[in-house]
Every structure is written in C-alpha cells, then in structure tokens.
Subunit: 425 residues, 3 copies
Amino acid sequence: MKAKIEHYFDKLFPINRSLTGNGNRETLKILSEIIDLAITEVPSGTPCFDWTVPAEWNVKEAWIKDSNGNKIIDFSKNNLHLLGYSEPFHGKISFKELKPHLYTLPDQPDLIPYLTSYYKRRWGFCLTHNQFLQLDQNETYEVFIDSSLDTNGSMTIGEAIIKGKTEEEILFSTNICHPSLANNELSGSLVSAFIYNKLKEQKELKYTYRFLFIPETIGSIYTLSVKGEHWRKNLKAGFVITCVGDNNKFTYKRSRMGNSLPDRVVETILKQTEEAYNIIDFFPSGSDERQYCSPGFNLPVGALMRTMYGQYPEYHTSGDNKEYISFEAMEKSVLKYLEIIELIEKNEKYINTMPYGEPQLGKRGLYPTLGSQKKNYGFVIKIIRWILNMADGENDLITISEKSKIDIKDLLPVINKLIEKGILK
Amino acid sequence: MKAKIEHYFDKLFPINRSLTGNGNRETLKILSEIIDLAITEVPSGTPCFDWTVPAEWNVKEAWIKDSNGNKIIDFSKNNLHLLGYSEPFHGKISFKELKPHLYTLPDQPDLIPYLTSYYKRRWGFCLTHNQFLQLDQNETYEVFIDSSLDTNGSMTIGEAIIKGKTEEEILFSTNICHPSLANNELSGSLVSAFIYNKLKEQKELKYTYRFLFIPETIGSIYTLSVKGEHWRKNLKAGFVITCVGDNNKFTYKRSRMGNSLPDRVVETILKQTEEAYNIIDFFPSGSDERQYCSPGFNLPVGALMRTMYGQYPEYHTSGDNKEYISFEAMEKSVLKYLEIIELIEKNEKYINTMPYGEPQLGKRGLYPTLGSQKKNYGFVIKIIRWILNMADGENDLITISEKSKIDIKDLLPVINKLIEKGILK
Amino acid sequence: MKAKIEHYFDKLFPINRSLTGNGNRETLKILSEIIDLAITEVPSGTPCFDWTVPAEWNVKEAWIKDSNGNKIIDFSKNNLHLLGYSEPFHGKISFKELKPHLYTLPDQPDLIPYLTSYYKRRWGFCLTHNQFLQLDQNETYEVFIDSSLDTNGSMTIGEAIIKGKTEEEILFSTNICHPSLANNELSGSLVSAFIYNKLKEQKELKYTYRFLFIPETIGSIYTLSVKGEHWRKNLKAGFVITCVGDNNKFTYKRSRMGNSLPDRVVETILKQTEEAYNIIDFFPSGSDERQYCSPGFNLPVGALMRTMYGQYPEYHTSGDNKEYISFEAMEKSVLKYLEIIELIEKNEKYINTMPYGEPQLGKRGLYPTLGSQKKNYGFVIKIIRWILNMADGENDLITISEKSKIDIKDLLPVINKLIEKGILK
C-alpha cells in the first residue's frame, strides 16, 4: 500500500487546489482511481446558513518579472507563490507599490508561507524572506496574474458511500482545498481514499460509511446544510482526517461531547495498541470538527491525527512537503483507522443468555474437567467469565474491556466463540 | 474608601454591642450614614422556631473596687471586661466569693477574653490573667453591675435592600452583636455597608440585594422564621460576611450544597484573581451560615472571609483590635465582593443565535480577512469561538470559563460585543 | 471463644468433605452444637439452571500398595491423597499405567495438592512430589478405591435463620466441600457458626439473618434456583465467608455493583478500625460471590477475607493446615463481622425533627451555657451539630461519617441521645 500511496502523492502534490476550481476537479478525478467518488458541483452563490458558496477561482499563470524580463516569482514553479483567491492583475509597479502585496516569514526565511484571501478581494504573492531581501528597491516590476473569479462557477465536492445493514452512519471527512502541502492536507485525502479501498473488501458491515472530500469550512458548512438533520439522527461516529502523514505519535482530539462513541473507541484502541499518544480535549478552533461540533449540531466527531495542525514548524509553509511526510506512517494511519472501524462494528452490548449463576462451561468443552487446580485456569477461562458476568445488556464491549482490563483483541475471539455456543448474543 | 472605613471604625469600635440593647441601636444609626438601613425592633419574647428573642440588656456602669475604693476593673475602660448579659449585682464580697465570677486566659495572660451568658442568668467579669494574678486574696471587693434585663425590650435589626429587575435575591448577612472586637466582627458590618454603598451606584441590576445587620444565631433564626419561605423560593446566593478585616489571604467556606451558585462564583473569582486562597467545605459550626444551611432550609449561603473565626490567636479576645486589622485589606474585601456580584449578575446561560456551523465572522468585522495565517489568529478570535461554541443554553458563563480556561475578565467584553452584533443573546 | 473454635477445628478437620456425602452430614451435625442448623437433602439429579446436583460420593477406603503389600499412599492418613470424586477401582497395574493417575506439585515437593474431578469420571491419587520421585518405575502396584457414586443420593446443605423485625435479609454463605484444608475452607464454617452464636444473643434485630453452609458452586447455584427471586427483592447485604483464618490483614472483595450496602459498610469499618487492609474490585472468579453476582441476580454480595484464595502458597495443598491458621485471628474475624452487622443495623437515614435553624441545645442540657468560649465547645457539640445538619432523610449514617470525618463509634452514642431527646428519629 505504501508504494501506491506514494504514487498517488506524486501525481496529486503539484496540483493547485483551493475552495473551488479545476485543480479540485482534477484531484477528485485522480482519487477516483482508488475510491468510487460521486462528484457534486455546488453553484457559486448557493447560500448555506450564514455563508455563501464563493465564486470559482482558476489561475492560468501568475508571475513577477524584473525590468530585464526575468521571472523572479513564478506560480508555475510553486503554487504557494500566489495568494489564494488572488484577483487578476497586470501592470508595472514600483517596489514601494509592490511591497504591500508580498508576504514572507521573517522567522523562517527559507520557506514560502501559505496564505489565502477568500472573502476579501486582494492580490498578492508569497515568497521566502530571503527572496524578498534580494529584491531591488529601486526596480520597477511587471506583475501578471491571469486568474478568474467566476460567479457562475461552482464548488466541487466528492463523496463515496459503503452501505451497511443499517442507515446508522460513520463519517470520514477530509479537505481538498490545500495546494502543494503534504501533511496538511494531501495526507488526509490519501489516507481517506485508502481506508475506503480496504473497507470496501469487508462483507456484512453493520454501519453505513460515508467518505467526504470537501474544501475546509465552506465545504463542511454546505454539507451540514444538506445532511445535518440526517446526521443528527443517524451519525454514530465521525472523524476529520487531517495531518495523518508524518511519522510522529498519534494525537486524538475529542469531540465536543468528550465521551462520544468515537472518543471511547479511539482512546481504547490507542491505549491498547500504542506506547505513546496524545489525547486533547475539544477546542473550537482547528479544522472542520468545529463545524460538525457547532452547538446546533454537536455531532460525535473527533479527529485522529499525528502531529496536530499548527504544532509543527513546517505547517502552512512550503516546508510541508514530501520530505516532511512518511508513506509508511500514512499506511499505518490507514491501518489504525481500520482497527477503529473494527471496534466500532463490534462494540455491542452483548447479552448472556444464561445469566442465572454461571453456565456449566465443562459440559460445553469450555472448561478443564480437573477442578481446583492450584494454578490459574488459564487466560481463556478468565476472559469467558468476565464476558459472561458483564454481558447484561448494559455494558458494551469497551466497558467490558475497561472493567476486565483485558484488551479488545483478546476479547473478540472469545466473544465469537460464546456466540457460536449460544451462550451470548 | 480606606480612610472612610477607618473613620467609621473609630466611631463604632468603643460601643457596647450584644444581642440586644442601645449599643446596637447606636451602631445601626451610625452605619445609616453609609447604608440606607431600615430598623426593626423585634419584641423580647417573640418566638422563632425553637428559640425566643431574649430580654433586652443594657449596662450603665460596671466595676470592681478594692477596699480603698480604687476601680480595679472597669467596664467603661473596655466593654469586654463585663461578661455579656451579666445580671445586676451590688455587694461587698471576699476574693473567694468573687473568684468564680472571674474569667481569664492563662495561656494568653495579657488578653481579656470575650464571654457571654445569654441564656442562663449569671454575672461575671473578664480580665487578663496578669491582672487576676495581682489580686489580693485577702481583700474584700465591692462589685457593682448596673445592668438591666428588660423582658419588655426588643432586639434591634437593620436591613437595606437594592431592588433589581427580579425578585430573585442575593443576601449579605453580618453580625452586630460583638462589642469592642475588630475583625470578628466590626469588619463585617463595615464591609457590608461599603459594598452597599458602591453597589447602589450601579444601574440595571438583575437581582435584588438584601443586606442584613443582625445579632448572631438568634438574629438569623428570627429572620429565617420571617423570610425563610421567601428565600427558599428566591435566594440565588447568600454570603455571611465575617472576619474580613485582616491582611491575610481569603478563605471561602462553601455552602452545605457544596456546588451552589455562590460556591461556583467565589471559587472562580478567587482562582482567577488571587495567587493564594483557601477553600473549605461546609461544616455545621461557625457563624450564621449554619442556620441558613440548616437542613430545613439548605440555602445557597457561603462565607468569604480572610482568616477564619477561631483560626487566629486574637479571636474572641481584646487582641482582636485596631492593630490586628488593616483598612486597606477591608477595602480590598469590599472590592472582591463587588467582583463576585459582577459575575453573579453576568453568569447567564447564553445562546448562540447562529448555532449551525460557525457564523461568518469576517463579514461582521470580527475576523481578519487574510486567512490561513500561520500564527494564531489572535486571542479575541479564540474567545469568540469558545463563546459561540459553548453558548447552547446549557453552559453558563462559569462553565464556559472553566472549559475554555479563559478568565471571566477576558470573556465579558467579548460577550458584550457578540450580544451587540446580534450573534449572542 | 478462641479455645472453643480450636476445639471444633480439631473435631472437624480430619473429616472427608466434598460436594456431597456422609462427611458433609457429619460436619453439619458437629456444627449444630454451635449453630441451630436445619439440614436439607437435595436429591442427586435435581436440576438447577444449567446444572444438575451430582451423584453422592462416599469413600470407605483408598490406597496404593507396593508388591510387598506396603500401603505407600493411604486415604485414611490424609484425605487429600484421593482425587475428589474418584470412581471405584481395584487392580494391579504397572508404574507406567499408574502414572497418569498421580498428581503432584513439582514446585512445592513436600505438599500434597488438592484436586477434584466432579463432572468427569476419573480416579486418581495426589501425593507429594518427593513421594512420587521415590516410586519404583519397575514396580507393579495394587490400587484400591472403595468409593461409591450414588445417583440416588443427595447433596446436604445446612441453614440457620435469625428472624428480625423485617423480611429484609442479610446473608452469610460459606462452603463445606473442602476436606482437610484449614483456611480455605474450614475457617469459613467456624467463623460463620460463631457469628451466629454471638448474634443470637442480640435482641431487636432489624434485619433477618440467614447463614448458609453449602458446597461451592453447585450449592450456591442450587440455592439461587430456590431463593434467588426472594433475595432479588429482600437481600440488603450478603457475605461469602472464606479464608478468614490466617493472621494477616483483612481483604475485602467488593460486590459486582461496587457501591452496594456491604461494600460501603465494610469499607467504612475497615477504614475506621484497621491500620492496614486491602480493597479489591469485583472480578468474576473466586468463590460463590461469582454466582450471587451473576448478571441475572447481581446481588449485593461481597467477601471479607484475610489473605485471599490463591494468594498464599499453601492454598489448595496439604500446607493449608492447623499450622497455617490462628485461632486468635479467627476470633477477630468473628468480631469484625459483628461490627459490620452493628453498622448495617444502625445505618439509617435519620431525620432531624427540628430542621429549621438549630434547636436550642442549651435548654435541653446539650450545650454549655457560657457562650463564645475561645476554645472549641468540645467534641460532643461538634458531633451533635454534624448529625443534626446532615439528618435530612437523604444521608445515611455512613454518609454522615464520611462527610463529618467522625467515626461511627463516636456518632452512635450521640445519635442514641438525640433520639432519646426527641430531636432525631
């Protein structure tokens, strides 16, 4: 899987993505080779709650030339050079006139910042601070931005669904609005697509799984305007998949509720399978979880990341590139999400069908016939007894694991055996 | 304020106060220069629950003379010398006869103890242990106590009310029964009066504020017999104001409920404004809080003190005098109570009027238009998001402050701004 | 009591006990000298939930002889030598044929293990590993087991009841199925019998007390099949009395509920009377508590032990003998259970009959008449105030003790005094 992820990363990384535009369409088309995406075009101007879908932005070329005609800044070399949603411009201007349109990071002088101006018309260029320092203050520059802002355009979103036995739903939501940025956020799209790819192979899923590929904020607000009521009734667990590409330990940001199903499942899995990890309480900044967890919806949506957005120096700069990420880590992120899905599927409130005293395990071949042995009767007997004792229809599998201090991976095969023997349902 | 407090302290300190009597009337008259007190005379013999208002006690003079006619103990020099509620007496008696009527503190030989005998008829004198040791055991003493116990008298109480928009009430209760004692309890009366004095200036108070000046125990039990039912319905928070004059850190004794509104408000304010303070669980000894928190009423009444009664060596002795207290500390006690009142007034369960996703802050001038900036968007944006996310009608301001870890003083101006913008109510 | 316990220990220890059989009958007959036992014979084959009462097992003799006719293993010397429920056998067999029927403890080579085969027909002998090593591998052995397994037999159980004012019940359950084993489990039967013996002397018990002497597992499952519904309605607290004979600190294993009446009572008593003790959460292995706490019943049953089963090296071996136990410790176990019973009886939700403000304690002779004394008014006044303040019909005695941090032994006499004065009920 690692190599396949890298292959698609290389294809997708150079594309210019934003809230809208052809780059997003192309991104979803390439992802469709991995995941069965249905594409929706939402017209610019569509109202959703307090917001409106913006005009569609496309860029043909964008550069700054010095008076010798040398392109000193060029969008075609790195799409981060252009301020996102820059309006068209062409003209020759002095350094003094140009300067307010230039954005740099003085503290990280080798990196290009990532900036956007979605809701106020501006134009601008982002460059390294070292590039900026080399500019001739007496020079006259030619600036050309061949962009378009089309109010008759649309916002493109992708969606894939795996139907389960019930309408109850598990959501995976990721963003497609970041241009050439690796961890935040191409990793999210790739991990989401490969989770789908693996999950599709499984039979008899209990829940219905929805995978969303949307631009940040406006994408989730639009989708909430359409699906919010459905989710309020049917969403069992949701995950914002973001920053899952680096090689550091997992970080889980809880849902606003703080003890919802995704919170309990992820914390159980991380505790039982990882040596080190971070758990962070919900806070209303960050990515789309703050829309899903807005008080009018308050959905059970958390975010399992590796290093969290804003917590690594390369965040939202040209340093968030292929070197920063690890394809092995991305594969492990996919597998961790699959473990989470397995527990979500199996986290029933089981019922002991013989709850009055213990069933006689011996006659069912579940117990050694030589009693009173001094040494413990073995781990399996202990697991059987815990499951049967707790299976009163009130305790779910996670609670049984917590109270018994027995890992999910040890409980699951015994649960299956007891179901087979008719003692558990 | 400090100087005014000292001015009134000096006027009030020498007056002989007790459960009843002219000293209490004079005290309330002087306090009326600061606070608009309504005076009630409750007739001696008035029944209240298990108790009866006692006879009115007044003292003209009281002394012990030696056989040379020298006054060796004199009530006019320090009213602590006379056992509170001493019955009248005149006679010449031997040292042996006098001795059982003398009270001293052998462990603090320079201090006069403060003692009373309200509900059993006695007479007695309190003196320093050093004075006691100098008495001639072969001497005959003349004892004169010109006191009266009038069963047709009354108990005097003072009350002031600031009407708010609702009948829901905040209570401040303090004691006027201590004679020349500074921290416990003249500080309580002074701090209460000055809280009123400052609060009176405020417009548009939500709650109605009641200030009570009563003798300890019988005063609160009488008032409960009259107002208890009203308070059970309307009292939102109450405070016994006692021991607020010394210069040490604040001590808050919780109400019996342990998590009532005054408990939550005071603990929030102390945590966010004081470096060091004590929180003590309710216990059924102490001052009038044990009446307000008796199980039949169980009112939300706590006590914000500085050093608690019984916890300083000068407590209930002549050492609890002007030297022990600080007028600067008393002013700060007034201001701390005013901060508490401010939070009580503002501790609403606010409602986000646009709870579906986030409102678009940018178009309301609440958000920088240049998105995706690497550095945090500033503290105000963080505060806005926390308030909007938590404002679901379930979380009050204190809960928002706890969950967001943002201080009340930082939340309040933003709340006002969001209300003004129509996003919050 | 210590000497009496030892006297009965010596009589009971050598008897061969099992799930069924004459040894159990004889044991109950001897115990009847201490406790008024009613004996029930439950026919073999009686169904109870998933189980069936087994055939009755009796043994006349059982031995292994070498070819010289020397008895090298003899049941009459130690009944642990015979595998419990061994079927009859007589024959001469080689060492190789004998070996699979021999059980030893290689890690504790001087001890005979205790083993049974209740639900699968087998025969076998238990011996020390050192004995085993001395066996001649070329020898032919004569094996004789004169046992009987009578499907027309019965299981014998003993029961004693002390009627209280209500049908609400306190249960003490102990096992009679262990042969010559001292701590686990002769100590349980002896301690149970002496608790009864002492408790019988008390008048006016509120609760009805039931003492059960049963074989482990099948005995409690059978009794649940008969009494389970009754207990579901009436059982207030139950205790499995096991491993109470050694001289180490107490261990309490909580009921499945974790905060049931026996849990709260035992933890309060241990905390207030013992310097060191262990509290263990419920787990579904161990003794009959796992039947009483099976999910279909979930009764409030815990187990107060000393060193828990399985936690001492002599457990289920011939090392669990008179040397391992202490009769002084057993007497103290009896007394500790009696303290527990006292608290169960007194753990009411008391009601202050004068809940509005404090009652005037002075006029009832409960308060010093000289008020405002600097030193604390004494411990009794503090206790009175705590009780009156907490006695609102919601807090039981244990809660009052927890909140006031006053021990039960200090609260009880004051509660009695307040009831006598009519202030409490």
